[in-house]
């Protein structure tokens, strides 16, 4: 136990702990929305497309997270545009943006002279190397997400549940949809450092699946998802440290095991 407490004396661990808290809240809430609305696949497309931006940033030498944000938002808008305006089937639009982003990322990284040492940490995450400025960005995102959901909770819920009815009631459905898709893009990108592009979808879906075992109430689902995300992330962090295995993978593994235990446990209660 003292070994655990001692860990908190390390600067890198304090940062990792804060990153875990911020990631859990943002992914818990946004993931709860994504799962309820069944837009997990769209979120996957946005996430993977952001790799193109990371590649471009490596090539041109600017902040990779900025590149990722640009590509994620572009993909989010692109998917909407392809589906609504160009009338391409939604799953096909998603696949096009998903693979286009990845392809561009690979091309850009290949064109980048020399070795790109951080590439792995963007693909698979490394919560132990999160920087101060990234933590500030994560904190800001949490404030925005919590503020948005607290202020507009009923409207978000009603639009998510029955978009058509919300339109007949006169709610600005399109505006909300665009705002939330941007929040999804930002959540994905700012949490890339925690579990990486390849694995971020897990933080948006597995804690929510666990939470959904215990509640069918939207508000409680969002809160409980954040709690489960935190338990999984922090346990994964310890496991990763003591077993010396990659943190992103350890976190996902913990989340899945936790879901399995809860699911099986529920059958016996």
């Amino acid at each position: 136990m003292s070994a655990l407490v001692e860990l908190f004396n390390y600067d890198f661990f304090q940062k990792a702990f804060l990153a875990a808290v911020f990631a859990s809240i943002s992914c818990g809430i946004i993931g709860g929305y994504i799962v309820s609305r069944r837009i997990v696949f769209i979120s996957g497309g946005i996430t993977h497309a952001s790799f193109g931006g990371i590649g471009l940033a490596f090539l041109l030498g600017f902040n990779p997270l900025l590149g990722a944000v640009l590509f994620a938002v572009a993909a989010a808008m692109g998917i909407q545009f392809f589906t609504k305006v160009a009338e391409i089937r939604e799953d096909s639009s998603i696949a096009i943006w998903w693979s286009l982003g990845m392809a561009l990322g690979i091309i850009f990284v290949f064109m980048t002279p020399g070795y790109t040492p951080n590439l792995m940490s963007y693909l698979f995450g490394n919560i132990l190397t999160v920087t101060n400025s990234e933590l500030w960005w994560m904190l800001s995102l949490n404030v925005v997400i919590i503020g948005f959901f607290v202020l507009f909770f009923s409207k978000i819920l009603y639009i998510a549940f029955d978009e058509e009815f919300a339109r007949t009631a006169g709610l600005p459905v399109n505006l909300f949809n665009y705002l939330i898709i941007i929040l999804i893009a930002l959540t994905v990108v700012l949490n890339i450092r925690v579990v990486g592009i390849i694995l971020i979808l897990s933080l948006l879906t597995i804690p929510q699946a666990s939470a959904n075992l215990f509640t069918k109430d939207f508000k409680k689902l969002l809160i409980l998802s954040s709690v489960f995300a935190f338990i999984g992330t922090i346990s994964g962090l310890f496991i990763s440290y003591f077993l010396d295995i990659p943190s992103g993978a350890a976190i996902i593994f913990t989340l899945v095991i936790m879901f399995g235990i809860l699911r099986i446990g529920k059958s016996f209660v």
Binding site: S154, A160, E164, A169, F218
Partner: protein, 247 residues
């Protein structure tokens, strides 16, 4: 009777294929209009135009002053088959969602009290905390009727409310509608002409064109002359017009 809405020379289509062509319709206070027609004939599209969900290609829809001023003038009950039953939302929240644009005019407590009163009337108060997915089709339909009514609408629009309803509730539903019709106008879409003609006051046959029939008695010949072939379903317990058999 005051006119609530008027549709003039309406044409609407998807991909330039007209679904509705040159449609005219007036709905007055306390009307009870049954809308019938074959599947794909444009019934639901007509509702969407009235609800403002799609914009007509040609023609216009005008609402009365009174209807226009209200925040939520039209109560709408969609087809429950399009509802995501796994969505994490409680029965009470579904009903409350019907009053979403009224939070400036009524207090939260007042809206909640209205919701509970409506649920109580439908015999659903004891399950108001349940998730929507735990309900039977008939119960769900009643919950959505509560949602449509909480905004105190002048006009109620129901899209095939009898699809999932058990026979027992079907009678109750139409009784409820007749009662509501003393105060508000109702537009009811159904594929079941038998049920329709025993409850509504007037009928509109929609099959690309709209034929207005100013009574609730409609014969097969008339339906054919309106180019409006529909399945005739008869129900034992409910009084209905007996129509000739299909060939």
């Amino acid at each position: 009777m005051e006119q609530l809405l008027k549709i003039e020379n309406l044409t609407f289509g998807y991909d330039k294929q007209p679904v509705l062509e040159n449609v005219n319709l007036e709905v007055h206070e306390k009307d009870f209009l049954g809308v019938i027609g074959p599947n794909g004939g444009g019934k639901t599209t007509l509702l969407k135009v009235i609800l403002g969900l799609v914009k007509p290609d040609k023609g216009k829809v005008t609402f009365s002053e009174d209807l226009h001023k209200r925040k939520q003038p039209i109560g709408y009950l969609p087809q429950v088959r399009y509802i995501d039953r796994k969505f994490p939302i409680t029965v009470l929240d579904v009903v409350l969602s019907g009053a979403i644009m009224q939070n400036k005019r009524r207090s939260k407590a007042e809206i909640k009290a209205t919701a509970e009163k409506l649920l109580d009337d439908m015999g659903l108060l004891s399950i108001s905390r349940k998730a929507i997915g735990e309900l039977s089709g008939g119960q769900m339909q009643r919950v959505f009727l509560c949602r449509a009514l909480i905004s105190d609408p002048k006009l109620l629009i129901l899209d095939e409310p009898d699809t999932f309803v058990d026979n027992r509730f079907e009678g109750e539903l139409y009784e409820k509608l007749l009662q509501l019709n003393k105060e508000i106008a109702i537009i009811l879409v159904s594929h079941d002409v038998g049920t329709i003609s025993s409850h509504v006051k007037t009928i509109a046959c929609v099959n690309k064109h709209l034929h207005y029939h100013p009574s609730n008695q409609i014969s097969e010949e008339q339906l054919e002359s309106y180019n409006c072939p529909i399945q005739v379903i008869s129900h034992g317990q409910i009084p209905h017009t007996v129509l000739k058999h299909h060939h």
